[in-house]
Amino acid sequence: MNETIERAPLDEKVISRLREIFGVERLLTSQTDMMTYSYDASFETQLNPQKPQVAVIALSTHEVSECVKLANEYKVPLYPRGAATGQTGGAVSTKGGIMLDLSRMNRILEIDHQNMQAIIEPGVIQNDLNLALKPYGLQFPPDPGSANMCTIGGMVSNNSSGLRAVKYGVTRHYVLGMEVVLPTGDVIVTGGAKSKALKSVSGYDLAHLMIGSEGTLGIVTRLRLKLLPLPVTRGIVLCSFERLESAGEAVNAVFSSGLQPSAIEIMDFNCIKAVNMMKPELNLPVDNEAVLVFEVDGAKEEVTSQVNRLKKVVEKYATHLKFSDEPNECEKLWQARKLVGAAVGLLKPGGFRVYAGEDICVPISRLPETLREIHNIAEKYGIVCGIYGHVGDGNMHTGPVVNSSNEVEMENVQKMVEEIHQLAIRMEGTTTAEHGVGIVRAKYMDVEHGPAMEVMRAIKRTLDPNNILNPGKMALPN
């Protein structure tokens, strides 16, 4: 980890070459601009924003390639960035250098509905693609909570996923191929340069090496995505449980009954409280330890029958139960889950919700135990937090609420996060299920991966000998 590489300062020569590539309007150098490129959505960069030296806004693969070549020639660090909604500091500079904003490469190039695929540039927003697919009755399923604002390039680089992952899987499952600018500036297409095949086992699967590499191995400039039919309708079953353990049993029972919900979401007692504060009309039972929200999707009759079966299975464990297969009513019930992220902020007057320690994942069987442990840790540090997450795959989002002017609290929340991450590893889980490593979880990489970490470093060195792409992340060579 201690390899260091001589770096040339970002002198006027580099700047003027960048100006040739991007023109004056898309080369930003002012301190004000740098300030606005010093963060993403992570707590870490809110505390420690880090400015790049310049930022450029790319519009084409050619520009990206020229920019990477230049960075490689001068050994200047280069940071790819989508919408900077990441929660790990992944798209933030750690060593000055060039910020490469890819959010304007946002054209949908082709919707090939016959072959169930779409070709897009990386800056397309998830929701914008889905709006464009709707008339064709198609969808791009990975659904992070940030679908309205995150770029698909960012999703691919982080291998993002959302609450429907339990049925539809993660971003990785929908990438058929991609165009990548390598750290040398060379451009390759993986997944078959000219192929439109939906399946291929030809050669090393380089696309899948790139997916989840968080901008450290290459810059994605074009994507070929697999699409699925859009489900016609959805149904919701919302139920609450006196004890966490019975919620866990209910989930097991559902799986063993052969049902395949499209989402299974859990909210703990604090989340219940918070949602009630925000939407009193939802009137969730307050004396319960957990609420589960099941979603099923499909054709109308299918949904109705699934809702009924689900109801029967969970009834035994639950104290309260609401359900619907009618769109407006479903929307209302679903609000309970949709609002929780913002609602936890209400748990403490004047406080705000921190995104840290927010993404652990443990085996489903150890969920109740883990939830209790997290609350013990929080209590130890005197921090209020709400926990919600995707029970279907054991992924939990912890939402601590703090007062930013209270220094003790700010310190304590960081200690608490550290313990939560250690807890996840102890429970045979991982520190991050969908958000990624970036800066904030780099320190757990060696513990989580052991000797495999050395293989990762070797790959990085091979593809990026000058270590220019997103250095300082993921515990790769620095």
Partner: protein, 454 residues
């Protein structure tokens, strides 16, 4: 009322980026500093004294359209336009005082050289706000002059003489799209009471009509039609005589005292009217009226009165759609599209009432405008101060309008109306695409059906 003050709400931004995908300026340049999240951060750094007041920040903040799309998208209720305004006020104060330097300078390449607005421009602006806009009589006189200017042929004279060349390009274009001002004889005060058209039916409610200042001079016909529409859809309409300007423009240029004065006068005028609702036909005014409550946070007596007042504000499309009964209508077999007013959709939260009404008209085909979420740039000072960005925003909007292949472009606010006309004028499409306020479109459809019925 907004839960948080701008000062509080700027601290609650979690940088999630949920506001990114609705911002018209960010959509053009892709530059983080041209988006809401960047603006909050810049303004906040300056307001908390982390960085000094400087020209770079002023230039950046001036690019915000204050359209509020970001507020609507923000899960934390961060009041971006208010925060930008607050920062701009501080910059203005620092400029006046000549103290742009603040202790604790951290920025290494700070420019402390804020350019002042040239004196004559400032005094004209102040005169506009102090005297003209806040006094209906004065405004009427300006209207009369404008009318005389248009009617007397002076307009074509100045046009052909090229006097307008001395104006910047934007001014010249604006001048060409100004609506025709009605002669003074047709701009007499509105009737104080207009009963519902069909007296045999129970009234749908008693409402007051807010006429607006510029609206009543430049868009007098739309105002007349608004009263007509309310009456024809079953409302008894009061138009209080002593109402005045809403104060939005004063507020947006930091003239708080004057804004409060105007607000109090309006609250009083409409209390006397004794109505269920107060109706506006301009999203911009409506939004300002809804926000009166925020002006009186520290004045409990007026706060209560303001709350009652603000709770009665409704947009005309909203009330007609929800409570009114639209008589028979008939279209011309044309295709229409709609550009929402930002203040209407984002501040008053009236998202689709105008469309729902238009869709009920037989023989009219409605086509959704792609990317209608983006502000059009709302004709006004922004066009003159930020010509480059304003033109790009407008060009893109026109591109989308063309895609719909519509014959009529419907709007719901005078600023949007003018901007759309300007856009069509620049594209040379005025002949093919007509711009219309939704009220005028509805009244024409009603009158067409009435004629056909006879």
């Amino acid at each position: 009322m907004k839960v948080l003050t701008p000062e509080q709400s700027m601290m609650t931004c979690v940088r999630c980026g949920a506001c990114r995908n609705v911002c018209p300026t960010l959509n053009i340049t892709g530059r983080e500093a041209d988006g809401p999240r960047g603006r909050v951060l810049m303004a906040r750094s300056m307001l908390t004294g982390e960085i000094p007041v400087n020209q770079e920040i002023k230039d950046q903040l001036d690019r915000c359209l204050l359209c509020s799309a970001c507020v609507d998208a923000c899960p934390m209720d961060v009041q971006i336009p208010d925060i930008v305004m607050l920062a701009k006020e501080q910059i203005a104060a620092a400029t006046e005082a000549g103290t742009y330097h603040q202790p604790g300078v951290k920025l290494n390449t700070t420019h402390n050289d804020i350019k002042k607005t040239p004196a004559p421009l400032r005094s004209v602006r102040d005169f506009m706000f102090e005297k003209v806009l806040s006094d209906q009589k004065n405004l009427n006189q300006v209207g009369n002059l404008l009318w005389f200017y248009q009617k007397s042929g002076l307009q074509s004279l100045t046009r052909s003489l090229g006097i307008l060349k001395f104006f910047p390009e934007q001014m010249r274009q604006m001048e060409r799209i100004m609506p025709e001002i009605l002669p003074p004889s047709k701009r007499k005060p509105h009737m104080e009471f207009t009963p519902r058209a069909n007296r045999k039916k129970e009234p749908k409610g008693r409402v007051a009509f807010f006429q607006g200042c510029i609206m009543d001079v430049m868009f007098r016909r739309t105002n007349d039609n608004s009263i007509k529409l309310l009456s024809k859809t079953g409302f008894d309409v009061v138009t209080p005589k002593d109402q005045g300007c809403c104060g939005a423009l004063h507020h947006h240029s930091g003239k708080k005292d004057k804004t409060i004065e105007l607000a109090k006068a309006n609250i009083k005028a409409f209390e006397k009217a004794g109505v269920d609702y107060i109706i506006t036909n301009a999203g911009g005014c409506g939004a300002a009226l809804v926000e009166y409550v925020d002006l009186f946070r520290d004045d409990p007596a007026w706060l209560e009165r303001a709350k009652v007042f603000s709770s009665k504000i409704r947009d005309i499309s909203e009330i007609v759609h929800e409570k009114g009964e639209l008589p028979e209508t008939s279209g011309k077999g044309e295709r229409v599209t709609y550009q929402p007013s930002c203040h209407l959709q984002y501040v008053m939260k009236v998202k689709d009432a105008p469309v729902k009404l238009v869709k009920t008209i037989p023989n009219t085909e409605y086509m959704e405008l792609p990317d209608k979420k983006y502000c059009c740039g709302s004709a006004g000072i922004y066009n003159i101060l930020q010509p480059d960005l304003a033109n790009k925003i407008l060009d893109q909007k026109m591109e989308k309008v063309k895609q719909t292949d519509s014959a009529v472009l419907i709007t719901s606010n005078p600023g949007c109306y003018l901007q759309m006309k300007l856009g069509l004028h620049r594209e040379g499409m005025e002949a093919e695409i007509e711009t219309k306020h939704v009220v005028d479109y509805l009244v024409e459809s009603i009158e067409r059906a009435e004629k056909q019925g006879h």
